[in-house]
Assembly symmetry: C2
Homo-oligomer: 395 residues x 2
C-alpha cells in the first residue's frame, strides 16, 4: 500500500533542529542546543513520597479513569493560585488540565482554526507550537521580534492585510527561542490590536514562574476584558517534564468544543501526576521550590552572560533574559547564523540557528539560540570560549 | 469576543451519553452504563513497588523529557511480545507509545484523513473514536454489525459508492459497544475488500488480551501483507486506565508524519508509567495477571448472561461476548431502545442506547449496551431483574 498523507501533515517538514541534533549526538559535544530544564530542580524526594503514599493508601483513586477536564482538586488549586497571582477571572473562564503545554496549542488550534486560516506568530517562535499550527493547515505569518517584543507596526500591518486571521501566538515572558520579555507597553498594544481586529490570543507561558531578574510584567490574560486570551501553563519547568501536565485557561463560551477536543485526543491526562502536583502545591513549600528553581537558572544565565561578555566579538549582540531557559545571540546584520552554527558543531559546541524557529524556514536569520539550563558550569565556560573564538573569525 | 468555532468541531455534538449519565449520577442508580475496567484487576502493589524503587534510585530517568516515539525498552518489549503472539512484522512496521488507545485514533486520523474524506466504521462503534474522526471533519459511513462482524455486502457497497474513502475503523475482538467478535472468515473478507479498494484499516484492539471464552482469532494486523493496517493497543484494561498509555503499530512508510503528529500533540507520553509497564511486563508475572483479569471478567459476564436468561423477555436477544467488558441486548425489531433506556434510568438502572454509538445519531436502533466490568455481583443481579421486568412490559 502507498499511503497518501493528509494535506495538513504534508506541510510539516522534519525539523532542521533534529538534523543538527544528530550531528550533536556525539557525547563530546557541549550542548547549548536542548531545552531541558535542569534536573537538579526536580523535587524528586517529594514526588516519590507523595506517589508512594497514595499508591499504598488509595491507589484506585489515581489509577481508574478520571475526568476529561482534569483532577478537580488540582483545578481548584490552580484557579485559586492564578486568581490571586494574576487576577484571572474564573467567573468567565475555565481551566482544564492537559497533557503538557504543547497540548494547549493542539486543543486551541483544533477548536478555533480552520484549514487555511492565518495564525500570526512572533518570529522566531517555539517550533513545537508552530508545527502544531501547521498540522491544522494554518497559514503562519511571522511578526519580527524586537528587543522588547513583537514589532507592533508589523503586527498591525499583518492584521490589516491578511484575511481570516484567527489567532496570535505569543510567549510574552522569556520567549523561546529569543529569551526576550515583551514590555508592558507592548503587551497593552498587542492586546488592543487583537481587540480591534477581533482575533484570539494564544498566550504561552511555560517559563512565567522562572523570573530571576527585573520586575514582574502582567500577563496578557490578566488584561483580558473581552475573554479573547487562551492561556497555556505548564508543569514541565516547575515540577518535571515527564509529568506531561499543563493547563489551559479559556473563555467558558468555548467549554463544550474544548471538552470534546480533549476527550477525542486522549480522554484525560495522567491522574497520579495530577494528584502529585496538587499535593505538592498545597502541602509542601511550592513557593520555596520556585525560588530554588529561579536561583539555579539565574546562576547559569549570569555565568553564560559574563562568559559571553568576555569571549564574544563585540559586534555580536545578545538578549539578556530576565528568566526562563534561553538567550539568543545575533551575528552582525546580514550574516546567516546557520553556517555559523554548523561550524560550531564541528568544533563540538551545539547551538540552534534562529531560522529553525521561523514561520518561514527559507529565511536567513542572524540569531542563534543558547540554552543555559542543561549544561554544567564547566561546559558553559568552555563552550562559550569556543563560540567566542568563532565569533571573532566571523566578524 | 464571540468565538467562531472551527468547522471540524462544529460537527461534534455533546454526546447523548453524557446527558444520560447526568440522569444516572444519582448514587442509588445501578450503572451498567460505564466502561471502566474493574479496579480489582489493577496490579496496585506492583505499580507502587516499581514506582517507589525507580523514584528513589533513578528519578531523573523517569522525570526528564523523553523520546517522542516512547521509552525504548518498553517499545522493544512490546515488539517482541507482538511478534511472538501475533506475528507482527517489525521489519516493515514501527511501534510508538502513545497517551492511551484514544490517541492512536487521533494520530492515525491526523496523518491520513483530509477534511471531507470518508471513514467507514462498524455501526454502532466506540463513540470516542467516532468523535475523533469527526474532529478532523471526516464523513462517517456506518456498516451495520451482524452477530459475526460487519455486514460484508454493506461494506463492499460503501467502498463502491463512496468517494475518497481513506480508512475503515474496526474493533474485531469483543467490540465496544456490541461485545461482538468478528469471525476469522469475515476478518479475511474485510482485509481483502480493503486491499481491493486500497484503503487503510484502523484496527482498535483495547480488549484483545481479555478473551475468556472461545478460540483465539488472529488480528487483522497479523494478516497484513500490504502494510495497510494501523493497529492500536492499550494498557488501560490490562494495567490501569489512568496510566494513559497505548501503542500504535504502523507501516514504517508513515514514520515521519506519525512522529511529527505525536510531537505536535503532546511531545511524548508519561515516562514513569512507560517504565512501570515495561518492568511489569518483563519482571513480573504478566501472563498470570492477564489470566486473573480474564477470570474476573468471565465471572461477571457469566453472571450477567445467566441473569439475563432468567429475567429478560424471550423476544429480547443479546450478544454473548467471548471477552472484553460489554454485551448488547436487542429489543424486538422496530423498537427504539432510547425510550427503553430512559425508562430504565427512571427505575434506577443505567444502560446506554446503541444509537449513542452510531455513525448516524438520528437513527433509531433497538440495541442497548450493558457493561459488566464495573457493577458488583449484587448490582448485576438486581439491575438485570429490574431491566427484565421492563423488557416484559415492552415486548
Amino acid at each position: 500500500m502507498s499511503f497518501i498523507i493528509s494535506d495538513r501533515m504534508t506541510g510539516v517538514e522534519g525539523s532542521m533542529i533534529r538534523e543538527l541534533f544528530k550531528l550533536g549526538a556525539d557525547p563530546s559535544v557541549i550542548s547549548f542546543g536542548g531545552g531541558n530544564p535542569s534536573a537538579e530542580t526536580f523535587p524528586v524526594k517529594e514526588i516519590e513520597e507523595i506517589a508512594s503514599k497514595v499508591l499504598k493508601e488509595n491507589p484506585v483513586s489515581v489509577l481508574q479513569y478520571g475526568l476529561t477536564e482534569g483532577y478537580t482538586p488540582l483545578r481548584e488549586t490552580l484557579k485559586a493560585y492564578l486568581s490571586k497571582k494574576e487576577g484571572f477571572d474564573f467567573e468567565k473562564n475555565e481551566l482544564f488540565i492537559v497533557s503538557g503545554g504543547q497540548q494547549c496549542a493542539d486543543i486551541a488550534t483544533k477548536v478555533l482554526v480552520n484549514d487555511g486560516d492565518v495564525v500570526l506568530t512572533e518570529d522566531p517562535a517555539f517550533i513545537g507550537c508552530l508545527n502544531t499550527f501547521r498540522t491544522y493547515n494554518a497559514k503562519l505569518v511571522g511578526i519580527p521580534m524586537e528587543s522588547d517584543g513583537m514589532d507592533i507596526n508589523a503586527l498591525e500591518e499583518a492584521l490589516k492585510t491578511n484575511k481570516n486571521v484567527k489567532m496570535l501566538y505569543t510567549i510574552p515572558s522569556f520567549q523561546n527561542p529569543t529569551g526576550i520579555t515583551t514590555s508592558l507597553e507592548k503587551r497593552k498594544k498587542v492586546y488592543e490590536l487583537c481587540s480591534k481586529y477581533d482575533i484570539a490570543i494564544f498566550e504561552d507561558n511555560p517559563y512565567g514562574e522562572l523570573r530571576f531578574a527585573g520586575e514582574n510584567v502582567p500577563t496578557l490574560k490578566s488584561m483580558d476584558k473581552d475573554g479573547r486570551v487562551l492561556y497555556a501553563g505548564s508543569f514541565s519547568k516547575v515540577m518535571a517534564p515527564a509529568v506531561r501536565l499543563g493547563y489551559l485557561v479559556f473563555n467558558k463560551e468555548i467549554l463544550s468544543p474544548v471538552t470534546v477536543a480533549k476527550q477525542a485526543t486522549d480522554v484525560h491526562s495522567n491522574v497520579l501526576f495530577q494528584y502529585i502536583c496538587n499535593e505538592y502545591m498545597t502541602k509542601y513549600d511550592f513557593e520555596g521550590h520556585l525560588e530554588k528553581c529561579r536561583s539555579v537558572y539565574k546562576a547559569k544565565a549570569d555565568l553564560m552572560l559574563s562568559e559571553i561578555k568576555k569571549n564574544f566579538n563585540p559586534k555580536v549582540t545578545y538578549s539578556v533574559p530576565e528568566g526562563g531557559l534561553f538567550m539568543m545571540a545575533f551575528l552582525p546584520d546580514g550574516k546567516d547564523a546557520y553556517p555559523f552554527v554548523r561550524e560550531g558543531i564541528e568544533r563540538k559546541v551545539l547551538t540552534v540557528p534562529g531560522v529553525a524557529f521561523s514561520a518561514d524556514p527559507s529565511k536567513k536569520l542572524n540569531g542563534f539560540r543558547l540554552n543555559y539550563s542543561t549544561p554544567s558550569d564547566e561546559q558553559i565556560v568552555k563552550g562559550i570560549e569556543i563560540l567566542g573564538k568563532l565569533t571573532n573569525e566571523w566578524c
